[in-house]
């Protein structure tokens, strides 16, 4: 996959819980495989419409803004702001048992799309509007998923 040469890989860390990610992610298809592969290389990639140049998530065959099916893969900067957040005082999935209470963010990336990710770091109080940066977590089975950390100096 041709990547933007100016992009940089995102920080990589180990997922602090215990679980096999493969049980918790959408099974990849040929359509989503480029994004899954890029995540292993430390990049969060988005489809970018070749017609209206807007980014989108999740992987979809049609641009939600203009209806075009032509697109390019683009690497995200991983920078965004918190649109909303929730906190789980208990875990309903074994993977997160050791992390409670944990916070899940809805983040709007600077490129536009929104996605959900866990807030990394227990001592960070979430707030709407808080700048965050994507990190990539490596799970015990070698899978990779996106989480978010408060951008330095922003918490």
């Amino acid at each position: 996959m041709a990547m933007n040469p100016t992009d940089t890989a995102l920080p990589l860390r180990d997922f602090p819980g215990l679980a096999e990610l493969q049980d918790l992610v959408i099974p990849p298809s040929a359509s989503s495989q480029p994004a899954v592969d890029a995540l292993k290389d430390g990049r969060l990639t988005l489809q970018c419409c070749a017609n209206c140049h807007r980014h989108r998530l999740p992987v979809a065959p049609v641009c939600p803004y203009c209806g075009s099916s032509a697109f390019d893969w683009k690497a995200s900067t991983g920078q965004g702001v918190v649109v909303s957040w929730v906190r789980y005082p208990r875990s309903y999935l074994p993977a997160f048992e050791a992390l409670i209470p944990y916070v899940v963010l809805c983040v709007e990336l600077t490129e536009g799309p929104r996605l959900f990710g866990r807030l990394v770091g227990k001592d960070v109080e979430p707030r709407i509007g808080m700048p965050v940066s994507a990190v990539i977590e490596r799970w015990t089975d070698g899978g990779h998923a996106v989480a978010f950390a408060a951008t330095d100096g922003a918490a």
Partner: protein, 397 residues
């Protein structure tokens, strides 16, 4: 008045079993059949006259249409079944109406018979449909497992947090929904919740997913409700007064919708925008030639307390962003301006996927609601956060 829907279809009979947790020991077919028998008795029809069957929630919590028809000895010439989610109560009624309008059947029974409590809690590992969390487009309520965003409550909590921020709303005002519907349930012998709830109880209730508390959440129950519909001209000759379908509109979906949140909040993939509800210009009102202020009682999908607030806004009962204030001081309770979910709703009667409310609409319009009866109730509405609605009346127009 737009007369596209001149009440060609009516509810003729309803059968409802008590909403309970862990008490149903019989087969689902037996559980379903008891509701069908009550509904047949309610309208005076014979089983052999039922020639249409609609199933809401199939196997394994309920039964699929084919086994239901076989086990209940229904010889149907029209049958269908929806996806196993609560959001389709209005849609099931609409399918019945369209089938009747087009002559696919003469008497359609809509059957919501499902035993949830044998399977644990919705959204937990092991509950039927858990694998839906890994659909291509994400979970049905925005569940995102790798992020730890689980349970239907997660998506609603995410939308609520954004809503509170965007419209500067005090979340404590949701107590009006939880307390009001509990008071209704205490007047309803079918309801699962039988203990009073105080404001202190509500405020002390622990977070399930902050900012949603346990008492903001509906109560899972086992449900068996049968609703028989027929053409309005046939319904007039049956045992009970017809409850006419005045108008209806379908579920909204697409990139601007998030099923468990108000429009325009920008949760999940939906874009943030300045949502201005159509209110009285919603097709359901225009088709019936009425306005929100004409509705005597509102019944809505209330998986969680914010859904009531958002339904009030979406259908123009309360101004956008102001429903939390609007619904205070008993305004949505019996005796108030707009009694909501008078049987207790999913929050306190039990999560019947909209069928407890449908049965209650029929009672209210027939004058059978006992201590919960709204005097002179003529027009009742089913409506949801996700945009579908049915207007019911005790007159055809």
């Amino acid at each position: 008045m737009d007369s596209r829907f001149a009440s060609s279809v009516a509810i003729a009979g309803v059968g409802t079993l008590p909403f309970t947790r862990g008490e149903v020991k019989e087969s689902v077919a037996s559980f379903a059949n008891r509701a069908v028998e009550l509904a047949l008795d309610d309208c005076g029809l014979e089983r052999r006259q039922l020639d249409g069957l609609l199933i809401h929630i199939g196997s394994p919590r309920g039964l699929d249409y084919d086994e239901m028809a076989t086990l209940l000895a229904l010889e149907t010439r029209f049958a269908s079944q929806t996806w196993a989610h609560g959001r389709f109560a209005g849609t099931v009624i609409q399918h019945a109406a369209m089938a009747l309008d087009h002559g696919l059947a003469d008497y359609v029974v809509c059957l919501a018979a499902f035993v949830n409590t044998r399977f644990g809690h919705h959204g937990r590992v092991g509950f039927p449909g858990f694998s839906e969390n890994l659909r291509e487009g994400g979970g049905p309520h925005a569940e995102t497992l790798h992020a730890g965003l689980v349970l239907p409550a997660g998506g609603t909590a995410m939308a609520l947090q954004r809503y509170l921020h965007k419209y500067n709303v005090d979340r404590e005002k949701l107590a009006a929904v939880a307390l009001g519907q509990r008071r209704n349930a205490l007047l309803n012998p079918l309801a699962t919740m039988t203990q009073p709830m105080t404001l202190a109880d509500y405020q002390a209730s622990p977070y399930i997913v902050e900012p949603l508390r346990r008492l903001d959440c509906s109560v899972p129950v086992d449900t068996s409700v049968a609703v028989i519909l027929t053409r309005a001209d046939r319904a007039k000759d049956l045992r009970k007064p017809p409850v006419y379908l005045r108008s209806y509109q379908g579920i909204a979906a697409g990139p601007r919708e998030f099923v468990f949140g108000q429009r325009g909040l920008g949760i999940n993939q939906s874009e943030e925008f300045d949502y201005r509800p159509l209110g009285g210009d919603e097709p359901v009102f225009r088709a019936a030639g009425v306005m929100p202020g004409d509705v005597d009682t509102l019944h809505c999908y209330d998986g969680f307390t914010p859904h009531v607030m958002w339904t009030l806004e979406r259908f123009g009962f309360a101004p956008m962003g102001e429903a939390a204030d609007w619904m205070q001081n008993g305004r949505i309770e019996l005796g108030g301006e707009l009694p909501v979910n008078t049987s207790g709703g999913h929050l306190s009667e039990g999560h019947s996927n909209g069928w407890g409310q449908t049965a209650e609409i029929v009672r209210q319009l027939r004058g059978e609601a006992g201590p919960r009866q709204i005097p002179g109730c003529k027009l009742a509405m089913w409506a949801t956060t996700f945009g579908d609605a049915v207007l019911y009346g005790n007159e055809p127009h």
